[in-house]
Amino acid sequence: MSSTTGITNINNMAPELPLQFSEDLLSTPMFNLIHSFGADLHYAESHIGKTTRMSRYERLSTNGGQLDGSGIDPAPEVVVRTDVDATMEIYAKTVVINEQVTLYENDKVLTKFTALLGQWMREKEDLLMRDLYASSVSYINAVGGINGQQPSEITRSDINNIERILLGNDARTMLEGIDADLKFGTAPTRDAFIALASTDITSDLQNVQGVLLKNAYPHQEGLRPEEYCSVSRFRFFVSSKGAKIPGISTPGGQTVYTIPMYGMEASAKIEQNNYSAILGYRPPYVVSSVAQNSQLYAKFAIARAITNQNWISGLNVTTSIAQ
């Protein structure tokens, strides 16, 4: 019995409050947002329908053209225009909060919930762009690896093959080179295309011949935290939400990861004028007949498109160690 010692301690006098609230909230998980920044940004006017048309004039043929002095004009060429359409879509998320939550919670829940909705908007936009790349782009199986899977793990020869395809289609690189500097263990990067990959393949990326991990770039200024490495003419950005299809490789039934690899003006993200991304609040007297529930919501509009299929390709890969 603690009372027999004559000492007042926390056993015979427990704290009035059994817990306290830490001064800082813990971090809300957020995945790397990699699928949106490489897309061209366009805007759609309001009151002109929900489909936006982007057009490109194709180059003229370079065949012939010499005037032979006969006075005969060269045959005229019909100019070809390619139209790429994208339909605007609106996405929304809402949270309904009972007044007793705001009344009794220690935290400022409306503020925190608003921040969550803001995070949702960025994450949702990222996944929508990921799905565009996963759905509408041609991919080639990696075959240079040694894991025995179809497709194999990623290798330098597979990456070089995609560079060949993009260069052969006159794709332009997206990122500028990083010049060499007098720093031990660093090496310059070339002007580069973008590659977007799942974090599951990072161990294989480290083993690709000629890989330059991000810390070995001569300069770190301006680099995105999502960037992982540079291989040949590609700089790889990784996300835990990178595209994948579980259980379809041969013979192991491993997960197959798709890696979009592209250059300038390969894809577009279109925002809607007069419909900015909105974080909104509906007060209790609007939401509830007895004014007990309020509502927070987030809305945004987006259209997306592959604007030049020649300037984007990619790889299907598995991993060295089955995931």
């Binding site: 565009l132 509408s136 379809i248 592959i306």
Partner: protein, 344 residues
């Protein structure tokens, strides 16, 4: 009120699965087959199918109320396949089924499965196709389905060296997340206007006036179709034969290398696959036919294939989407308050 409590609709069954968007989500979903409710069959059919969100029900399951053979007496049972699948986001491949063969024929036929619950028009990814590894990992639309096999209309495999002696199939969603989507090319003819065969039903994917970019590895031949070898000439679809999974392009492929799948023995180091991807459209007017192409705003814009959440209804005599011609009414319920038993 903050929630949608009830949405309702109906459809006439085509014998194919139906996807019903339920934007406010659902806690209870029910279908009534009005056609079967008003009649009897020698083998009693399902008239009512129910689904509950919690306790959660396995994908493909449903509480089925069905008629007794040749009478109106009702029975109830829990079916584990051919029922409802509630999808909140784009789904991963469904459970694998293992078969024993794919014929080297045109079209190819997969067989040797047990308990397949596919519908005509479903899409599957095939892998572990022993002896026919050149198709392992590609997606196909299935037809003539039974519990033991299906036909692959988009796979002319008569020229393959051998039949497959094993196959594993996993059903995937009917479309990719975004349309128009890339497709696997399984044949291209050598003709004044090349005819392209793809592995999936091109309905809703391909249209006249569509521009395409081919990506054909050298292992398939006919690399001349790749854009960089066409001197900038766009490939344009001039006609579509949806039932044959074929479309005609404006390219004279007569003098091109023959298109052919590589040998299975090259796996896994042979480059796969030959694909074709959407590259916009040519907007034109044909004064002879007085028709415009390039203004098909249902098919040509990039867009989501489906709005989630969605309730997938499988088709068939003992399934919620019913048989061809059945009139089916559906209702989606959203509970405003729920009290579940502990442990659920």
């Amino acid at each position: 009120m903050a929630f949608t409590l009830l949405t309702q609709g109906s459809f006439v069954s085509t014998g194919a699965p139906v996807n019903i968007p339920v934007p406010s989500s659902a806690d209870y979903f029910v279908t009534i087959n009005q056609t079967q409710a008003a009649t009897t069959q020698a083998t009693g059919r399902g008239v009512k199918f129910e689904w509950y969100s919690n306790p959660s029900m396995a994908a493909g399951s449903a509480y089925e109320t069905l008629k007794t053979n040749s009478t109106n007496a009702l029975n109830q049972t829990l079916i584990s396949s051919g029922g409802f699948t509630y999808l909140t986001d784009f789904p991963a491949p469904f459970a694998a089924f293992v078969g024993t063969a794919i014929t080297a024929a045109s079209p190819a036929v997969a067989s040797g499965f047990t308990g397949l619950s596919y519908n005509n028009g479903d899409r599957v990814i095939l892998y572990n196709t022993t002896g026919m590894l050149q198709i392992a990992g590609a997606a196909f639309t299935v037809s003539s389905v039974s519990s033991t096999g299906f036909t692959l209309l988009g796979l002319p495999a008569a020229a393959f060296a051998a039949a497959a002696t094993a196959v594993t199939a996993r059903k995937v969603y009917s479309y990719n997340s975004v349309l128009p989507e890339f497709m696997y090319v399984t044949a291209v003819s050598q003709a004044a206007q090349g005819v392209v065969t793809v592995s999936v039903d091109p309905t809703n994917l391909v249209y006249v006036g569509q521009k395409l970019v081919f990506q054909i590895p050298s292992s398939f031949g006919m690399t001349q179709l790749n854009e960089n070898n066409l001197n900038g000439i766009p490939v344009i679809v001039t006609s579509v034969n949806y039932s044959a999974y074929q479309f005609t392009i404006n390219v004279n492929t007569s003098a091109f290398s023959a298109f052919a799948f590589p040998a299975s023995t090259g796996s896994p180091t042979t480059q796969l696959f030959a694909t074709v991807a959407p590259a916009g459209s040519a907007t034109t007017y044909d004064p002879l036919l007085q028709t415009y192409t390039g203004y098909d705003f249902a098919k040509q814009p990039f867009r989501s294939s489906t709005s989630f959440p969605v309730m997938n209804l499988q088709a068939g005599a003992q399934s919620p989407a019913g048989s061809t011609g059945d009139i089916v009414v559906w209702q989606a319920w959203k509970a405003e308050a729920v009290q579940y038993a502990s442990g659920t």
